[in-house]
Symmetry: C2
Subunit: 295 residues, 2 copies
Amino acid sequence: MRFEVTILGNGSGSPTGTMHHTAHVLNVREQFFLIDCGEGTRSRMVRMGISPLKIKAVFISHIHGDHLFGLMPLISSLGLAGKQTPLKIFGPAELRKMLDFFQHDFGPPVGFELDFTPVDTTKHLRIFENRSMEVWSVPLRHRVPSSGYVFIESGNGRGGCGYAEHALADAPAAHALQLKHNFYPRSYAFMSDTHPSPRAADIVREACPAGVDLMYHESTFAEAEKRLAKNTGHSTAMQAARIAQKAGAKKLLIGHFSSRYKDLSLLENEARTIFPETFIAAEGETFSVSRIPVL
Amino acid sequence: MRFEVTILGNGSGSPTGTMHHTAHVLNVREQFFLIDCGEGTRSRMVRMGISPLKIKAVFISHIHGDHLFGLMPLISSLGLAGKQTPLKIFGPAELRKMLDFFQHDFGPPVGFELDFTPVDTTKHLRIFENRSMEVWSVPLRHRVPSSGYVFIESGNGRGGCGYAEHALADAPAAHALQLKHNFYPRSYAFMSDTHPSPRAADIVREACPAGVDLMYHESTFAEAEKRLAKNTGHSTAMQAARIAQKAGAKKLLIGHFSSRYKDLSLLENEARTIFPETFIAAEGETFSVSRIPVL
């Protein structure tokens, strides 16, 4: 019963020839969700042994090429592979234009529906739920509308363990509920391109009162480039660490690194001065969350 | 004074995780031309040490994703890198829709002009010329309109050595002209996705009466898949070899391989039974043509 995130790329916008663009695959009990889809994602998935046909839904954080130029090739590839069921896609409203262009103006439309749901990047809303998982949006602060996503495991059809109940209940009540169900809802927060947002940290804490198990937070720059981070709507590794701390995260993954850093341990070490459980979101690595009870 | 082709990818449409999509970089005396632009081209260029900013013009053979999904990311990247001069782009008329979408509907337009020239894929025409090179289109036979391109070195500003003269002159007269100018116009024929076309072979022979120095011809399949090749508008390695032979090519590069072939020497060997000077267009390899006199 897996709950794990595989990192396909940890580079930012500038091409380095070695780092890949942002794309994470979340496996929740063998249901696969793709989060952002930079150029080359399809090929990276195949290399990691993850069939693109397994993807149940795609979540795009914002309309910058390094987070979505892999989407048209992925959709095209799914069409060639004979996919017929709809593909759920979530992202800022502007994404619809690209999907419409692809389906209607590029060539013959692919043989399955692109089931697009626009995400209001200013609100914290539940945008997806099934028997395995709930997904909530988290408003971020970037140069263009940008949304993070919190993925929270559901009670495997037993209900009563979702975020809605968590948010309503005080922490001891939530714990009691979990013990009763012998179920610990695992969680992952994906904090894409953003200037550090205390509001976003509060939202994640509210969504996961027991603490989000794994938080990814972009960390484009080291502390020396703090001003550049501000001007470009990005975060430093230390700023990411403070957000993880404020959100009550258990573990922090940092990524979306500027190509200027040849040795990423600089960023990891800076973040660890504030949040010791920080790790580089290394390309090709899979980070698992165990199914263990709380307390 | 280089005239060389670097192979960025030799895979076909299906992702393998190891092969890349079609993209060739032609370097004519330090002027760089990009031919087809599959997903990941930008990153492949950087890895090969070829700055995308050096690209003088882009030639797209046809509107299938594996030949052009890298174009929007490349253009986006050039914009971020501060390019201001126009980028010349050649390809079937349908390409304009993608370029228009990208410039007007995707996000802020890039800060340079996309100078698009539609190529009539049914005709053999001169579509580009400068002091270094002439480019001629070659009609191909694929499932969608598809054009090959013949690149012929010009007389470095001395004039009188271009294809126009060649085509008009009989071979001895052309040779005399070359000897007079002490100049041998090197040439490269790029034969993208196509069912074997004897007409295309004749066109290349006419364009390069002394024999094209280097011909790339797609060879998606081995001879055992001849029927599949026909049904999909592709060629086998042996069919490619026959085209090279008919065109009077000096050397043949084969590529665009179906992902079913783990050992590409099968295709190389089949082609060599007909055209011994056949080579795999190996990814990352550069094929040079020497500046030697004819005769």
